[in-house]
């Protein structure tokens, strides 16, 4: 997967169309008396790379779950590419170009890497119930092999996922999210548990994602988040605390006090 050379032009074109990949309008989510999300308003333009930061319990993953439809928001609306999807089940949102990764890898451990990627590609195409075996020259099988190479797993493509290292499983998570023409991807702490070398590889993969794909990244590793994001949203106690560019967020005194710590500098 090659990075488009004129990313700035492509992005400018996409964003000049005025289309938003995601619009959240007054999203809240309550678990009994606990308010996990409160009045979240957030817009992500097509092709934008957006980071969501915040301490543990800030509501970041809950926000992702509300976007994907893993559970419904208590109030508010979710719009994907201008379409209100609040009442659609998760799989219908996926078919509209939304993808996500999980904080803890959710993979099919008894299937091979290639089977995982093939299923991911098949999920947003027809014949999901096909009662015949995928052929080697199947277009989706070819897409799965391309994806395996894109996330640097071509050498272990026939290995059962349960036998992969943690880092490889995280790479496969990203591979699944890249399958089948995504338009907006939600990455939930993709660098969690990775070694410094694996993190560098992850940044390469994130930077090589084509320009037309927007993504939102939850990440505790500021180096990773600020290197790939164009805009940043800070969350605190289930609310949007601050929004801005990576530089603005990094240099904001309140953010430093709340999240980066007094010694950040």
């Amino acid at each position: 997967m090659n990075k488009t050379l004129n990313r700035a032009d492509a992005l400018s074109l996409l964003q000049s169309s005025g289309q938003y990949a995601l619009e959240l309008e007054a999203i809240s989510r309550h678990f009994g008396a606990l308010v996990a999300l409160a009045d979240i308003n957030l817009s992500v333009k097509a092709g934008e790379r957006h980071a969501v930061l915040g301490s543990n319990g800030a509501g970041k993953t809950t926000l992702f779950n509300a976007i994907t439809g893993d559970f419904a928001p208590t109030t508010g609306r979710v719009r994907l590419f201008g379409e209100d999807v609040t009442d659609l089940p998760a799989y219908e949102r996926i078919r509209r170009g939304l993808r996500r990764t999980y904080q803890i890898s959710l993979l099919f451990e008894n299937l091979s890497v290639l089977d995982n990627l093939y299923l991911a590609c098949r999920g947003v195409s027809r014949n999901r119930f096909a009662l015949r075996r995928p052929r080697r020259d199947d277009a989706l099988m070819a897409s799965a092999e391309t994806l395996a190479a894109a996330v640097h797993l071509e050498t272990v493509r026939d290995t059962p996922v349960g036998e992969l290292s943690h880092g490889q499983q995280r790479q496969l998570e990203i591979g699944l999210a890249l399958s089948g023409a995504p338009r907006l991807i939600l990455f939930d702490e993709p660098a969690a548990g990775l070694s410094p070398g694996e993190r560098a590889e992850l940044v390469d993969i994130l930077n090589s994602i084509p320009s037309h794909i927007a993504y939102i990244l939850i990440e505790h590793d500021m180096d990773v988040a600020l290197r790939v994001a164009e805009r940043v949203t800070m969350m605190h106690n289930g609310r949007v605390f601050k929004q801005g560019t990576p530089d603005e967020i990094e240099n904001d005194a309140q953010v430093q006090e709340l999240y980066l710590g007094d010694h950040h500098g």
Binding site: T68, D70, P89, A90, Y91, I94, R95, R99, R100, Y102, L106, L107, F108, E109, N110, L111, D115, N116, Y118, L119, A120, R122, G123, V124, N127, R128, F129, A130, L131, R132, R133, P134, R135, R136, P160, G162, E163, L176, S179, G180
Partner: protein, 341 residues
Amino acid sequence: MWRFDPDSFRASQVRPGVIVVAVALLAYPLIATNFFIFQIGAYSLLLGTVALSLMMLAGYGGMVSLAQLTVAGFGGYMMAIFGTNSVDVHGFGWPWWVLIPSVILASATLSALIGAISVRTEGIYTIMITLAIAVAFFYFTRQNYAAFNGFTGFAGVEPPQVFGVNWRAPVPFYYLALAIAAFFYFAVLYGSRTTYGLALQAVRDNSRRMNSLGYDVTAIRVFAYFLSGLIAGTAGIMLVWFNGRISPGSISVSVAIDILVIAVVGGLRHPIGPFIGALAFVLLENFAIDLIDRERFNTVIGLVFLFIIFFSPDGILGLWERIRPHLMRKPNVARSDGARK
């Protein structure tokens, strides 16, 4: 359009051992007595086929259903009601070529309905809800005389004379049971590597992730019940022909649990497991009385069940897979057996 795919065929794992077993099964009636052909051979194949429908759901789909015998029993009742019987209740006498496909389809539809009710539960709750369905159907057939002829049930349900063959005779019946068992065995084996088969296994591994890849998990699970109903319904037809009768006792909870025991004892990881379990079960059922009182049979099968679970959670199949490398190991030669995880 379907095309033959040599890669896919090779992946079907047709090994020399499979050919040896196939030849042995085909030649079995040549050397066995009618008792062994009918009561041991054919009955094992029929119970194995019912257990195969459970293996498909549990092994590939992660859904342990105790209602598979209910589906098979429903098929048996439909044969008696819409076909012929000797008790002068119903017996509409439909021609076999209409009756058999209709009954199989009706059984699969019932199975899908059971699936639609139970797929929103997981683990122990699926077992409990399917057990509840099995118990409800048992009592319903026992108390309902208008449709199911109550406690008595139906007798005189026999296979049709097709091609001039008496299909109830031991040898033809055995080969019919073998053909059906082999068809479903290979269908399940092939199906496990189809797009749908992979999707079903992926749902078993992680349903939430499948949902987030664009799959309707509920539809995948319900369709699995439908497919397993095709197997169980067909086996139900064969079982009613085997016994010549069907009554509530044929679909009681204890028999439903026998099916679970057969599948677990044989092994749930491969379609051959249920047939191994069925053979072990039928042999024990017939010959344990040489060693103990008939009343003690459940104790024996219970002990065997405990033994297998304790020493090999993957059943006899798992036990064999653990022993096989030791038997086949050649001195000073490192070997990878490539067994599926």
